[in-house]
Symmetry: C2
Subunit: 448 residues, 2 copies
């Protein structure tokens, strides 16, 4: 089967003038192999030829959601670090827990998270974690799209860094091109300047980008300024990180002067915004509006499922929009089209893929989800796009297409055995929840 | 059928010492007629006798959710007032739209909202709207529980006020006791002091409480102080409102001095907190922690579906908890048990029903929901209560019991014809979305 037709849907399409997402009704979407080839009115007299037709009446088609920053396999530790400060979250919970981690855990954890994400309409994830060959195997199997980076701390040394570069070589372009790979140093507070420079050199050599946490909180920014007279963003600029495409995770501590610097970066830079984590850990919020004003792309993210605690981009979208209104005490801020633009083209730009995904247009990759708008919580459907932002639950996603292939149909996962995945993760719960406080993978001390 | 057994569930039960909700596993819940009669270990040697047994393995039983402030039938206008200031929301959208409202609209709108709420685990709603006989009919049919008040503006005069009192007389205790009725003056900025005093007199006569909007924003509070030297809460105290049980909706503009006054009220007073509306309209937030410290109950609410835009109390719960952490920039604030306490016993107390609902204990009314925790977004289930607050979607609710009767089973509504309700609401969309700006039910001008 190569030609697929989505028949008679509503769809989220870029407006011809403003380019912001807008609604089209009675639309047919034609897919040939991995790409969208045409959008046509459903009323066309000559119905398009296709090998498979999906009747999408009452459904809204939109670009598959993109999760621009996650640690998906952390789902195996879900719920184990609640109601604690960020210091305790890292030092007493997360990093001791991760000393339990095995390759097998990452494999099953990644499958679990992919199952959750596909069920919630996420077709692409930028994942930043350990034992990433296993994540690559899981993504290959699930049929999803991913930008994978093997996380590394500076104190692991250059051999470890080289190993993460070898991962890039092994996985770049794999899984019919669905997998891209990046370098993934943890953060400026866990990687010194030389280590960051060495990372940039390897990224340039490999022709890939960098995915890194930076300026996660204002506290981190202030501590960095006090300790060395530079903000974390200034450190990234100084060490050459901004000379390669970069995904900056979080950035709640990004200052106005940082934004000026980011604007001058010689390579594309974007910021991954994961609001649920920020609320739960009291981290503040990414300065989205100033970043956008400076032309720096912002995308949506979940972060890992121990802070979030889910992998739900519809929830991130809704929180992002509402919090911008709340912080500004102005409901006219972050309108529905603007929010949907961040969720689609913004997130694609953060991953450096703005010409490939995040938009339903001919020539784009066929990563498409169908959202069922017929539920009592959507009806009557006066304004489908308002409903998409403020009423849609992950469970409304009916059908998921990646690279032109249907991987979820009528909420049934076609590539993954969910029951088996849940069983395999569940059997290790006792071992996974064991904490030996001194046995941790790293120490969080950005303030020292 | 009178004896019902929920077999082998996890359950949210008040801790014997702290009284905060805690988790019990392997539990049987026995129900006789409309009440919970016993909680027992599922391993008991003599299995309890029952006419109907619900196998609840993998499910978490909790008290049915309570929506302490809604305008449920407004769902018929859903999505029609987005990204606008609160002034425009009222004067250009909501109040002109409501001039289209008919009795029939309220009936079908109430049924629509009840369908959505039951599907999302809400068993009780305090509803504040117009044509409330129709709301009463809908609640009777749905099998839900409700505290209904017929909203009235002061400029409608005392005849209108008397009509709302007559509504109380007609409906108090109806539907096997599932319906209670209250007086529902709109707000201090739309009802003058004499009108509020007259409302209190009628409430006392009838032996019922009052449900009113007050101090919705800090702007309203400041305008009231400037205009007449009193905060909206001081107006309620002065006019005797606090001499009868009162539900205050919103209270984002409640000041420290107001809380001192509320603490001295001679009747029980509670505050309904609807965070999604506050974010979307940039209203600020209810001062939950100071209210709790003063012993004033706080409960969860959705407000109407034009500001919210749904009727999802799980979403309100999650937003409430996360926003308290965010505002305090402290993740230790509003722990999971504290948040669940607000969602259960807190909301019951706001409705003056703390001895009847909001708790799974013998003698309490059998309003119980079963939440399916088996989904990929909950697994592995290390901490069921964390998952209840941070991972649960309205769509995870499987079974809903009100007054000892199953009204939703395996997500199938047993009392309502959802398809017919959606069809009936849908056929009036064109008329419902018509706005004649000068033809409005009221003018929002608290600042004049």
């Amino acid at each position: 089967m190569t030609k697929l037709l989505i028949h008679n849907c509503m769809a989220l399409i870029p407006d011809e003038e403003s380019e912001l997402p807008t609604l089209r009704e009675n639309l047919d979407i034609l897919i040939d192999k991995d790409k969208i080839t045409a959008l046509r009115s459903s009323d066309a007299k000559t119905p398009p030829q296709a090998d498979q037709v999906i009747d999408a009446r009452g459904m809204l088609a939109m670009p598959g959601l993109i999760n621009t920053h996650a640690h998906t396999p952390m789902g195996i530790f879900r719920g184990l670090a609640e109601d604690v400060t960020i210091e305790r979250w890292f030092n007493e919970f997360m990093w001791p827990l991760e000393s339990n981690l095995t390759e097998e855990d990452v494999y099953w954890g990644m499958l679990l998270g992919l199952a959750e994400m596909i069920e919630g309409g996420v077709t692409t994830v930028a994942d930043h974690y350990f034992f990433m060959d296993k994540a690559g195997e899981a993504v290959t199997q699930a049929g999803a799209r991913a930008a994978l980076g093997w996380a590394v701390f500076g104190d692991r040394g250059y051999k470890a860094l080289d190993a993460t570069a070898d991962f890039v070589t092994r996985w770049q372009g794999k899984a019919e091109g669905r997998i891209t790979a990046l370098m993934a140093p943890h953060a400026p507070y866990t990687c010194d300047d030389d280590f960051l420079r060495a990372t940039v050199a390897r990224a340039k050599n490999l022709g890939v980008g960098i995915h890194i946490h930076a300026a996660e909180t204002l506290g981190q920014t202030e501590a960095s300024q006090k300790k060395r007279g530079l903000t974390p963003i200034q450190v990234l600029a100084e060490t050459g990180v901004f000379d390669v495409p970069t995904i900056i995770a979080h950035g709640c501590g990004i200052l106005a002067e940082d934004i000026a610097l980011m604007k001058e970066a010689s390579a594309p830079i974007g910021v991954a915004h994961a609001p649920k984590t920020y609320l739960k850990l009291g981290m503040g919020l990414t300065p989205i509006l100033p970043l956008q004003k400076a032309g720096i792309p912002v995308g949506l993210a979940t972060d890992g499922p121990v802070s979030n605690n889910t992998l739900d981009i519809f929830e991130s979208l809704r929180l992002m929009a509402m919090l911008q209104k709340h912080e500004a005490r102005n409901p006219e801020v972050m309108t529905i089209p603007q929010a949907l633009d961040i969720a689609t083209r913004g997130s694609a730009a953060v991953l450096g893929m703005a010409d490939k995904i995040g938009q339903l247009s001919p020539g784009y990759l066929a990563d498409i989800i169908l959202v069922d708008m017929s539920g009592a919580h959507h009806q009557p459907l006066h304004r489908p796009l308002a409903s998409l932002v403020y009423n849609t639950r992950a469970s409304d996603v009916q059908t998921v297409i990646v690279n032109g292939k249907v991987i979820m149909q009528d909420r049934r996962l076609l590539t993954l055995n969910k029951a088996e995945i849940i069983r395999r993760v569940g059997q290790n719960m006792t071992r996974l929840s064991r904490r030996v406080p001194k046995n941790r993978v790293q120490l969080y001390q950005p303030f020292r």
